[in-house]
Amino acid sequence: MPTVTFLPGYRKVTVPEGTTLLDAARAAGLSMNVVCGGQGKCGKCLVFIKEGTVTFDREKYRRFFSNDEIARGACLACQATVVGDIQVNVPAESLIQEQKILVEVPGLEGIPFNPAVRKYEVRLEPPSLDDTTPDLTRVLEGIELQGGPPPTSIYAPLDVLCYLPLVLRRSGWHATATVALAPVGYRLSSVDEGNTTGRLYGAAVDLGTTTVVVYLWSLVDGRILATASNYNRQISCGEDILSRVNFSRKSGLSRLQQLAAESINEALTTAADAAGIDREEIFEVMIAGNTVMTHLFLGIDPAYMIAEPYIPVVRRMLSTGAGQSGIAAHKNAEVYTFPAVSNFIGGDIIADILATGMAEREEPTLMVDIGTNFEAVLGNSDWMLSCAGAAGPALEGGEVLFGMRANPGAIERARIDAETLAPTCSTINGARPRGICGSGLIDLLAELFRACVIDRTGRINLEIGHPRVRKGQYYPEFVVVWKKETSLGKDIVITENDIRNLIMSKAAIHGACMTLLDAAGLMPGDIGRVCFAGAFGNYLNKENAITIGLIPEISLERVENIGNGAITGANIALLDRKRRKELDAIARKITYIELNAEPSFMDRYTSSCFLPHTDFTLFPHVQQTLEACRARQGVRSWQA
């Protein structure tokens, strides 16, 4: 079997002939950047063949490479297959790098502290012939004396009973009992020697398709101890949900379950180490994930969700033991997963709702979570409507020539001088630019529009006659950063095709928002506030988002970025058992609108495939601002 050597790290792997370089890289432990899931669509897994040959149709994927790259043996790892021994050069850009994952969450201060797990220090009378009360009863009575629940309501699992006599006797009848409020009563999770009441921890987890975020809390006093995040290791089995489900169908379910648990454990360990605590003292874990992620984490087959009639196995909140689900916490720790509404509106969205507090307010809130897909929820304390759809990968950098995730070197903010068309860009970590991430793309779209470089359909006006506006190899393009200022050795451009993809993405989201508003009989002006959730939303320029018509026009001060609502929601549910109890009720209250079955959606989508929208009356303020821009540009006003 041929040996593949990956440079610059000299990682070697032996694989059968016909293996793709992507699979070989995975086998070698490299995480390649495959936004499209390895279908040859995104061009992000660029590698260079240094020695040896591969089978690869270079002409077919010519559009992804510059001439210089071709000369250096460029190919796509996902499409090139191994023929014999080779050496492959993997540029840093083709590897998944540390991402700007959202861990700063505003509004943590206000969460009421009312945990579902408590520790009780018990000092017990040793048994004697006069007092033959069994060990367990003795402990349970001790708990009650400390203000805990009555003995009859506490369930004691077998494993605790097995070590209980030893612990009690070794400690001289001075122990600490951990009691958790489980969905069906109380549970004696652990009994430890001596006084351990100062050490009781809980973890909130956002199990995302791409990233996992963990917040570690002290459940003694409700202090946050540490946060950590890392990639979801399932990425190696496919970037998007659909490819994960497909992987699971090819008997990969247990592998995905294991990877999900490992990803959480990795973050949990990092956080625990940072906080200097023992993971064994984590007694509760609250996991918010989308419906498929939740199914995969629990080892439940998600296959029926991706084919008609798209049915999840379970929607309600579930709890398992940490031991059972492979979470690196105390083995009797309760691991909760958030309830879901449908296959598309999952626990992460319920967590978003919790984070926005919209279920407690009278004024309607529109919450939009933009990630790999988008979900939108409109409602208040009485009613809620939701929908979900594919926004396309453009807002996350997929199907955009220089699109990338929010990694170092990604242009995250941009302005374009209306006079000179010179862009001012800032990148993540201030690194030399090597691509553009979602928030940067939205800024560019809005700025190009204001500067009249593109028309309302996003077509670039080549007649401008500016060196940055040029024909491009396949599409007209605008040069965002000249070659010499990048870390890529080529000009970073945004093409007309990129812009079209972005417009389609924003149109899907806006169309969904309008569908919800219409179903509720509301106008954009009736919305009390718009909340952006998701990592993407946090870095988004609100004004630009409205300028391009990503969301309905509403005054800027009523737009909030709630950031990673999934983790905020998980935090709230971890710390406040009352709010946790409401989750199932919130989930049941939400009416799901299937956009594919909504005849008006296509119409709304098409009318939103325009900047900002075909119906200007929906964007009066944007329209005014644009007129001012146009007037400055000397372009004839459209009020002709």
Partner: protein, 302 residues
């Protein structure tokens, strides 16, 4: 349903220019001005039938070539016959010659435009190249040759509207704005044209259509929606409509008809499709078979 509110009327677009108006046409037409749905109030004053001809018959439907015979090889004579013999209200000149590989005979575009304008006294519609690379030169030459005649230039589409708009603006012509059977896309294109500077009373909407039985019902409902939106006050859709059911002559029923029936089948199909477009609100219908013109005139005037 009748409304007296000036804002809620379809804009009038004037096509062709008489001597008094600075051109050389014997007649000019004002289309538009409706205030209600077609045939729901008073009849539109004028429904126009255009006969479409071309400058290179190799790209023209055989059923028309067979009928017009040698005329097909003389664009000017064909145009003259369109008006005098067949009774068309307008001539639509389609520059099919631009479909030839490597076309660069731009001089001929101007010459043909002038010849056709000389051969007919009716207003002229010009259909450009359908080739973005050639468009701007074709429209410039033809537009320049027809300066002052208020031609109707076609076709602007969302991804190639600048060159048509530029020619229309430079030489004072009107524009056909065609979008693929969608009310939103129709509106978007009109906005794009407006923002390029084309006045709204120089835009005619072509909602595009397939043949009757081949999706015409979509066109019908889109035309209805365009008109309803306009009458409800949407200025960006308040333009008269043109319909050119050119696909009708190449559908299977015509191609595979027995030779003896082919002409009758072609004319019938073109007639019914065009007539349906009129019912849906088109102010101008463009057809290619001369016999269809006569039939439409009879039906519309009868």
């Amino acid at each position: 349903m009748e409304s007296n509110d000036e804002r809620l009327a379809i804009r009038e677009v004037r096509l062709g220019a008489t001597r008094a108006e600075g051109g050389t046409r014997e007649v000019s037409y004002a289309i538009g001005g409706e205030r209600d749905l077609p045939f729901s109030g008073k009849r539109p004053e004028r429904l126009l039938v255009a006969l479409e001809i071309c400058d290179d018959p190799q790209f023209w439907p055989p059923v028309v070539r067979d009928y017009v015979g040698d005329l097909a090889n003389d664009t000017a004579e064909w145009a003259r016959a369109a008006e005098r013999t067949y009774g068309a209200d307008l001539v639509r000149l389609n520059f099919t010659s631009t479909k030839q590989r490597g076309f660069d005979a731009f001089g001929a575009i101007a010459a043909t435009t002038e010849e056709v304008l000389a051969a007919t006294a009716r207003p002229l519609i010009v259909e450009g190249s359908n080739e973005p690379e050639l468009d701007s030169e074709v429209f410039r030459r033809s537009g320049e040759a027809g300066e002052g005649e208020r031609l109707l230039l076609g076709t602007a589409e969302a991804d190639r509207y600048r060159s048509v708009a530029a020619a229309a603006l430079a030489y004072g012509h009107a524009v056909i704005a065609q979008s693929p059977i969608d009310v939103n896309l129709a509106k978007q294109l009109n906005i794009l044209l407006r923002e390029t500077g084309v006045p709204q009373d120089r835009i005619v909407i072509d909602p595009y259509t397939g043949a009757l039985g081949y999706g015409f019902e979509y066109t019908y409902s889109v035309m209805e929606r365009i008109r309803l939106a306009a009458l409800a006050g949407d200025a960006d859709l308040a333009m008269p409509m043109i319909s050119a059911p050119t696909d009708t002559l190449s559908i299977r029923e015509v191609r595979e008809a027995a030779p003896a029936d082919r002409e009758a089948m072609a004319v019938a199909w073109e007639f019914y499709t065009a007539y349906a477009a009129v019912v849906a609100g088109a102010s101008i219908v463009c057809v290619r078979h001369p016999l269809t013109v006569a039939r439409l005139k009879t039906a519309l005037e009868g």
